[in-house]
């Protein structure tokens, strides 16, 4: 046992830290630090800066323009990026679609789509879920019928994150309605500007239109946009879920959120003393910090096994459950820390208006909305109930 990082890993951390200090624009990191909402331009700006350094795609091989980092390096980068309050990158193209294209796409598809992911030409979104297919994803009904060298697509996707900005959507579509449900699904790439595609934003409980419904009405998609083989889409979707769950524990996010809660709690007074001295609040804060310390090590155990090439199984589900429980508890503590100042809804401030004055202490405006919004963590990416089922199936095996 040796809990320390190797010299190379420490040098890598220092390099990442220095680069972030030099390159990360202050206006972006302030927005992230204060929990404000990112605009499309903000995300694109950050993508450009990372790409110029060759760090936009940590998990891609160098030959496609990636950083080709191992799991430990990726973990170090995530931690440093969170501590520096860097925006998160958009995962849909970079860490969901790209690995599928690399493993199952044609060379032509790789040449066609991968560069646009790096240089910001194409914004991708993920079209898996449907009104009737959430946890039971294999129940997708969106239909794709082959006609000559095209597919004709009809149906509806939902919960499509940031689909309102997207140029492209990768979809699970049903190509064989008669087969067993997992065996009639294909993985199709659809240009969002095609005639017949309609996007309707959905406002969430925190007041932000973060997700969308996407409707397909006789949308004609060139057959060359099919990834891999017809009716094998489920295999590709599952590959993605088991192999590309980077940063599922969100240790970096939680570490940054813990700092924020401490900072707020030190600066508000309860009964004349800093809130950090209130025994009840302090106990909850300490409890979550203790959990986070242990989970950071659980995460590194999994990460270093992965760096040696072992594929995580139930472990990634464990990290998802524990990681999201910790992140949600931190949002609950933040809202408690700001006290009555969590009451006002301050959308102008949240939308990033620099001049929008905020009522209450720092983070007062974001505390309520982020508590509400982060409920999503235990719902998406395989709900925590579904993860628990995976864990017991893998370990108890009944």
């Amino acid at each position: 046992m040796d809990l320390s990082y190797t010299d190379e890993e420490q040098a890598f951390r220092a390099e990442v830290r220095d680069w972030l200090a030099e390159t990360l624009p202050r206006d972006l990191s302030e927005k992230v630090r204060l929990g404000k909402r990112m605009s499309k331009q903000d995300v694109e700006h950050w993508h450009r800066l990372l790409n110029a350094k060759g760090w936009l795609a940590p998990n891609w091989p160098k030959k496609y323009g990636g950083a080709e980092w191992n799991a430990v390096q990726r973990q170090i980068f995530e931690e440093e990026a969170c501590l520096a309050h860097a925006p998160r990158t958009l995962p849909f193209g970079l860490s969901m679609l790209a690995p599928v294209l690399m493993a199952f796409g044609s060379e032509e598809q790789r040449q066609r789509f991968l560069p646009g992911l790096l240089d910001g030409t194409n914004w991708w979104c993920q079209g898996y879920s449907e009104p009737g297919a959430g946890s039971d994803l294999a129940a997708v009904k969106t239909r794709a019928v082959r006609e000559g060298d095209e597919y004709v697509v009809n149906g509806q996707k939902t919960w499509t994150t940031l689909g309102q900005h997207a140029d492209w959507i990768f979809c699970l579509v049903r190509t064989d309605p008669d087969a067993k449900k997992q065996e009639g699904i294909s993985f199709l790439l659809i240009d969002m500007t095609s005639p017949g595609v309609t996007v309707r934003p959905i406002v969430l409980i925190d007041g932000e239109a973060e997700v969308n419904e996407v409707f397909f009405d006789n949308v004609r998609v060139p057959a060359e946009n099919l990834v891999g083989e017809e009716n094998k889409g489920w295999t590709y979707a599952k590959y993605l879920l088991t192999h590309e769950r980077t940063n599922i524990a969100g240790v970096g996010f939680s570490t940054a959120a813990l700092d924020t809660v401490k900072h707020v709690a030190q600066n508000v007074k309860s009964g004349g003393k800093p809130l950090t001295e209130n025994p009840h609040f302090a106990a909850r804060l300490a409890q979550v910090e203790i959990d986070l310390m242990a989970m950071a090590t659980t995460n590194l155990r999994v990460v270093s096994a992965a760096a040696k090439g072992e594929a995580p199984g139930a472990e990634s589900s464990m990290l998802k459950v524990k990681g999201t429980v910790i992140r949600q508890e931190l949002t609950s503590l933040l809202r408690r820390a700001v006290g009555p100042d969590a009451l006002p809804f301050q959308p102008d401030y949240l939308e990033g208006g620099d001049n929008a004055e905020m009522m209450g202490p720092e983070h007062a405006a974001t505390a309520g909305p982020s508590y509400f919004n982060m409920r999503k963590l235990s719902i998406f990416g395989g709900s925590n109930e579904v993860q628990r089922t995976i864990i017991t199936k893998a370990i108890i095996g009944l």
């Binding site: 879920s129 009737g132 959430g134 946890s135 039971d136 129940a139 939902t158 919960w159 959905i202 406002v203 969430l204 409980i205 007041g207 997700v211 508000v268 007074k269 309860s270 009964g271 004349g272 209130n278 025994p279 009840h280 609040f281 909850r284 949600q328 609950s332 809202r335 408690r336 006290g339 009555p340 100042d341 969590a342 009451l343 006002p344 809804f345 301050q346 009522m359 209450g360 309520g368 909305p369 508590y371 509400f372 409920r375 999503k376 235990s378 719902i379 998406f380 709900s383 925590n384 109930e385 628990r388 089922t389």
Partner: protein, 364 residues
């Protein structure tokens, strides 16, 4: 022991619940809030006409209720329907303006709103933390989170005439018209759609006619009534969240079966059902002790508000979770109850505040 409501209260409950079922829905509330309207004046007038405001005042005050169980019956129904109309200010200030019979009459008729201006930015949840001062007949200071401050015709202002910031002695109460010279009101919408305001007083001239009877003790007793109303409202909102979730567990199918068939969800729903009954009992405890001696009353205030905060968070978190994505949307009615139940934890003391206060009151 009798846990049944009196005939009058049952009738009040029935009329109110029918009125709200007919006239109040998520869509219109949502549109109203989005348009920036603080509340629906027709609904408010309708509630006044039904006598709902009258039920919050005692007979000596010209009302026909005003006791703990009157407040809890009314507010549970308001919470169930998700009403954001300004009835809480009447509870918070009603006992403090008792000697202003004309004003009370206007409040009961729904013609005037009298808001409570007590919280200050440094005070967090401590009622006795007051810097706003009255010196030589001039009121100065800033109050935050004044519920319906911008819709009120007058404010009950908690101000200090002597002593240090956290002394209970020296706190006095004044009735100040919102259009008085030197009063500035900035209003905003809260996360739960209710309307709040920051109110600043600069050299507002007061004389003895502005003074209301009582000081800190009267304020604490008035806030106890407010905490009961809020707790009952949270209970009603939890009942709705619970009902929506039960309905959804039966109706939503995944893997070919209603999701309510999954034992993982059944057990958690069972815990929600258990805890909502605890919440109901906590509201009954406070309603039944609202007129008791100070220590008994205040122990119940803190016990109830703590329990409501804990159970509220559990109900919200579980209801959203068991709904999946739908539970996250603004368009679905659960969203309002999620926000309202959560924000109730931020009025007059949250879980941690009341836990500490309960311990202190129990040691005394």
């Amino acid at each position: 022991m009798d846990f049944n409501l009196t005939e009058e209260r049952r009738m009040l409950q029935d009329t109110l619940s029918r009125f709200l079922a007919d006239k109040y829905d998520h869509d219109s509330r949502r549109k109203g809030i989005a348009s920036g309207r603080p509340f629906d004046p027709d609904i408010y007038a309708g509630l006044a006409e039904l006598g709902v405001l009258g039920a919050l005042f005692t007979e000596d005050q010209g009302g026909f209720g005003g006791m703990g169980f009157d407040l809890s019956v009314v507010f549970e129904e308001l919470g169930r329907a998700g009403v954001i109309e300004p009835l809480l200010p009447a509870v918070l200030t009603g006992s403090l303006i008792a000697d202003r019979t004309d004003l009370v009459e206007e409040v009961i008729a729904g013609e005037s709103i009298v808001a409570l201006a007590c919280t200050e930015s440094q005070a967090r949840y401590d009622l006795d933390n007051v810097e706003t001062s009255v010196v030589d007949g001039k009121l100065n200071g800033t109050k935050v989170h004044v519920l319906n401050g911008a819709q009120a015709s007058s404010l009950v202002v908690v101000a200090r005439e002597s002593g240090k910031t956290t002394d209970q002695d020296g706190i006095a109460l004044f009735l100040v018209p919102t259009d008085a010279k030197g009063v500035t009101i900035v209003d905003y919408t809260n996360n739960d759609g209710t309307s709040g305001a920051t109110v600043t007083f600069v050299d507002v001239a007061l004389d003895e006619t502005n003074r209301l009877p009582g000081g800190y003790a009267a304020l604490e007793a008035a806030v106890a009534r407010g905490v009961l109303a809020l707790s009952a409202e949270a209970l009603g909102a939890m009942e709705t969240a619970k009902a929506l979730t039960i309905e959804y567990l039966k109706e939503r199918k995944q893997f070919g079966v209603p999701i309510g068939k999954f034992q993982a969800l059944q057990h958690r729903m069972a815990d929600v059902l258990i805890e909502v009954e605890q919440a109901r009992s906590a509201v009954i405890n406070l309603a039944g002790h609202l007129e008791a001696d100070r220590t008994t009353r205040e122990r119940n205030v803190s016990a109830t508000k703590n329990l409501i905060g804990r159970v509220g968070a559990q109900v919200v978190e579980e209801s959203v979770q068991m709904h999946g994505g739908i539970g996250m949307t603004d368009e679905y009615a659960l969203s309002h109850f999620t926000r309202r139940i959560t924000m109730i934890d931020h009025w007059f003391g949250d879980v941690d505040h009341h836990l500490a206060r309960f311990i202190a009151l129990s040691a005394a």
